[in-house]
Symmetry: C2
Subunit: 231 residues, 2 copies
DNA sequence: AAGATAAGGTGTAATTTTTACACTAAGTAA
DNA sequence: TTACTTAGTGTAAAAATTACACCTTATCTT
């Protein structure tokens, strides 16, 4: 039983792959669609770009409208333009990604009724996604993995104060690979952009770990050098 | 004296940044525009995507029509979507890049009259370009530079048989940086994907250098490992 | 309060990779 | 034959990476 849908002209859309880290799991932000096609499905937050807004602005607006989240730094990572990727006509989508701290404060609540709800969902349990969203997600995940290797982006996913074990667990989740504890710590600390705090973890039923904070100033120094290649 | 131009609806376009290496200089492929706006200007080869073709197909077609070049592997690298980037209306452009051997055999000859001509132009002498083409080029160049660090793409720019000095000169042109001859050779040879030939350079008025060929099978092995990160 | 449990935290030696550095060899041209 | 130009080569020091295991500290249980 298929619904008959109107055809539309060429349009641009935005899809967002927003990463978060919660309960030692890597998650992305999904919505439940409230529109055909794929009404009721879990999908990446995405919608159509207006004629009078830049694609970067559109990405921000669409994410906000569909999830209630604002003011995060999104970055474009790929454009998907197969002819038949949308059943209703030609839709080229520009995919954006961002990393954010999952925070109980930040309520997820769509402000349009294009989405029924928005929620965090583990990347390992995505199941079937509509359109080419599986491919979009996979491309974004690869981008994240690669970028982790040359930019210390992990801190955007962690709470402001974190333990080295949390940091390591996050790296392991993104890279899908076990890392050596001593070497990991040695390396991370050697960069010099982690500030050790006079505080310890709370609420754990074992020896509490020291907390660290990310020092953006020192990070920037290292990031500047990042492009340099040996001569 | 401004020409009055028709406004058009939202459209997608493709722009191409095609790199080549000639006379020890890094060059890109430009066309002379034969259409308003910017008629007569040097510009990146670019045009509008048709409704019934994927963006990848469009990129190939457009490059062919504007320059006569075919069958090169292009890859998307960024999408430019500012509202006012095109004077006639909303045009979002998807930028592609490729590396090719500049070859006297391959004639540059537009097959439409959208372009008056096509030619190689040194990246260091680009001057003013129309639209946001300067930004498009710069982004593509950065992408090239970065990619050189993790994929042996230099061989796509060199003739099939090349000397180590040519290879080094190319690296230096892309990275804009002098490299140490002994260390460069040691490193390149250590990868094991360069095959030393029983041939020497010809036509030089000094000691001829050995020629090498790139061994794609071994390259693939190394490229497979490329994503691995220390554990 | 003693013991069990669970994660926190630490150092070293071997190996590999990177860096800095300068002269002789070979071919061509005058 | 000599001058010129680029080809081609090795080594030692420094830095980065890897592999690897045990004691410490806090909490919870009995």
């Amino acid at each position: 039983m298929e619904t008959i849908l109107p055809k539309f002209d060429s349009v641009f859309s935005i899809d967002c792959v927003i990463f978060g880290f919660q309960a030692n799991e890597l998650k992305i932000l999904l919505i439940e669609r409230n529109e055909e096609p794929f009404k009721g499905w879990r999908a990446l937050p995405g919608y159509i770009v207006k004629k009078d807004e830049s694609i970067d602005d559109a990405a921000e607006r669409i994410l906000y409208e569909l999830t209630g989240l604002r003011d995060l730094h999104m970055e474009q990572f790929h454009t998907f333009g197969d002819v038949d990727r949308h059943p209703q006509g030609r839709v080229i989508t520009i995919a954006y990604y961002a990393l954010i701290r999952i925070d109980v404060q930040k309520e997820l609540k769509p402000v349009t009724n294009i989405a029924k709800s928005a929620f965090w969902y583990p990347v390992n349990e995505l199941g079937k996604l509509p359109f080419d969203h599986a491919k979009v997600f996979e491309t974004g995940f690869q981008k994240l993995r690669r970028r982790l290797g040359y930019q210390p982006i992990a801190f955007e996913l962690l709470p402001e104060k974190f333990t080295l074990t949390q940091l390591q667990t996050l790296y392991e989740a993104i890279l899908n690979k076990k890392l050596d504890k001593r070497n990991f710590r040695k390396k991370m600390l050697s960069y010099g952009f982690l500030k050790e705090l006079d505080e310890k973890q709370k609420g754990v039923s074992y020896r509490a770990a020291k907390l660290y904070r990310f020092d953006r100033r020192k990070y920037n120094k290292i990031f500047q050098n990042e492009l340099s290649i040996n001569g």
